[in-house]
């Protein structure tokens, strides 16, 4: 069984080489299509991961008035902790805030030279429980907290979240539309390449037909060829995407929010890559079956 499979794939490869520019066109088209789809995928994944990461960490910052008294502080702290939505709190003093800021500006501390008094406020960093993380809940919580004594400002990155959610939504929609168009186009190109292959082997096919070969027997090799073109296209795309990804990450010194989760250093997970290759194979199979159905006379 395995022997037969190797045989079939080997033949498919040989025929692919024989297909010359037609085969290259198919593979390249699918490659480009998948690169585009892959970019959308990566963007959506990263954005989603960013949001998820944000949800992991401190989500609401309650900035305190500089003039707050210790009593007020204590009362405030207790009130905040009593809130059902609040899972945990961390208190940051003015000094700690400045030190953190200084650390983030590593290499550019000179910017802080002319500051004078510490302008940074003390704050409570709140972690929000799972059920309370919707934009509406956060909005209400933030409104409530900002009315408490000693609170200067409440931030929960609302614009940021909404904006990202919108972007993700649009990206997904765009991705699906563009992806569908590209998929169809790719299938058509594979179909054309396979059509040429069918014509080239017309005599052989006719003989097989007359000798009593089943439809499946005659179609199978073409199906495999189509799938091969599709898979190779997808692999090409993955290669290009990966190279580009590393280049961008290195050049702009970005760290990926996917870093702690994915084993592939921030690129797509293996299962996703396998799906892409599988998807390529399916597009190839689709294109091939269209060609075979239309041009293979039985």
């Amino acid at each position: 069984m395995v022997e037969k499979l190797k045989h079939i794939v080997a033949h498919a490869l040989i025929n692919l080489i024989r297909a010359g520019w037609g085969g290259i066109a198919s593979i390249a088209t699918i490659g480009v299509s998948f690169v585009i789809i892959g970019i959308f995928l990566l963007l959506v994944l990263h954005l989603n991961a960013l949001v998820a990461e944000w949800k992991e960490q401190f989500q609401v910052s309650v900035f305190l008035d500089d003039r707050i008294t210790p009593t007020q502080l204590e009362i405030l702290g207790k009130r905040i902790q009593n809130e059902a939505a609040v899972k945990a709190t961390t208190f940051t003093t003015k000094e700690e805030a400045l030190a953190n800021f200084r650390r983030e500006l590593k290499g550019q501390e000179s910017l802080l030279e002319g500051l004078g008094d510490n302008p940074l406020p003390a704050s409570f960093q709140l972690k929000i429980r799972e059920g309370y993380q919707s934009p509406d809940t956060l909005k209400r919580l933030s409104a409530f907290l900002s009315r408490l004594e000693g609170v200067e400002d409440v931030q929960y990155g609302q614009e940021w979240i909404e904006r990202i959610s919108n972007i993700v939504r649009i990206m997904k929609l765009l991705g699906i539309i563009i992806g569908s168009v590209l998929t169809l186009g790719s299938a058509m190109i594979v179909s054309n390449t396979i059509r040429l292959a069918v014509y080239a082997r017309a005599t052989e096919i006719e003989i097989m037909r007359l000798v009593g070969a089943t439809k499946a027997y005659i179609r199978a090799p073409f199906l495999v060829e189509g799938m091969l073109q599709g898979s190779l296209g997808a692999l090409l795309a993955l290669g290009l995407l990966f190279a580009a990804y590393r280049f961008v990450a290195l050049t702009f010194n970005l760290t990926s929010p996917l870093l702690p989760t994915a084993a592939n250093r921030g690129f797509l997970e293996s299962s996703m890559m396998a799906s892409l290759v599988g998807g390529g194979a399916m597009i190839g199979a689709l294109g091939s079956s269209i060609a075979v159905r239309r041009f293979l006379k039985m």
Binding site: E204, R209, L210, V211, G212, A213, K215, Y217
Partner: protein, 220 residues
């Protein structure tokens, strides 16, 4: 073996290729289908291996009604037949041997059995020494013999030949007919379409004459 009842075949609206054909070929017979070009011989053969369906009428091959047959039953039907064409239809980019093993693979013969059969048949047609050659290096007559060998790979019940000597000169043509007669001796029913009346006459076998799609005469 082959039975046709009131078979009509019309192409398009008014091209009547076959008109009210009744034909019975018995097991082990050797029959010539004679007539000029366009008489309907090829059409009749094509109906037999179900490359076409009759416009009306019934056709039985080896007792099976092929008009009512479902399309997935067609491959098994064709495996009981061997077909030879005027233009040989051999693959240029394969050797003589490979042209035969193609059939073995298609019908699922075991490799060893296929090889044995190829050897046997090449011996029968007298071309064992040219097994590894590409067909274009063989003469027309030799190529047709390879085609006949290929048609026999499956040990068919019926051998159909559509103008097998059309591309050959008189001597080679006679060779091919002789080979077909030999095949017939071994038990295969043979049906040969030809426009060469002389050939048919010399062979001295049952000959059915077609003219404008009708059977007009018969020699026994």
């Amino acid at each position: 073996m082959i039975q046709m009842f009131h078979v009509y075949k019309t192409f398009g609206k008014d091209l009547e290729a076959l008109v009210d054909v009744d034909l019975h070929v018995h097991k082990g017979e050797f029959v010539f289908l004679a007539g000029s070009s366009g008489a309907g011989k090829s059409t009749l053969l094509r109906l037999t291996f179900r490359d076409e369906l009759p416009t009306s009428g019934q056709i039985l091959v080896n007792g099976r009604n092929i008009v009512r047959m479902k399309s997935r039953a067609v491959p098994p039907l064709r495996r009981t037949l061997g077909i030879v064409f005027q233009d040989f239809k051999l693959l240029r980019d394969r050797t003589v041997e490979e042209n035969l093993t193609l059939v073995a693979r298609v019908v699922g013969m075991a490799t060893l059995e296929g090889q044995r059969r190829v050897e046997q048949l090449l011996k029968l047609v007298g071309l064992s020494h040219k097994a590894k050659m590409p067909p274009y290096k063989l003469s027309g007559g030799e190529q047709q013999r390879v085609a006949i060998a290929r048609a026999l790979m499956n040990d068919p019940l019926i051998l159909l030949a559509d103008e097998p000597t059309g591309n050959l000169d008189a001597e080679l043509a006679a060779d091919v007919i002789r080979l077909l007669l030999e095949v017939n001796e071994r038990g295969t029913t043979v049906l040969v379409a030809t426009h060469d009346l002389k050939l048919a006459k010399e062979a001295g076998r049952r000959t059915v004459f077609l003219k404008h799609g009708r059977i007009v005469e018969e020699w026994s």
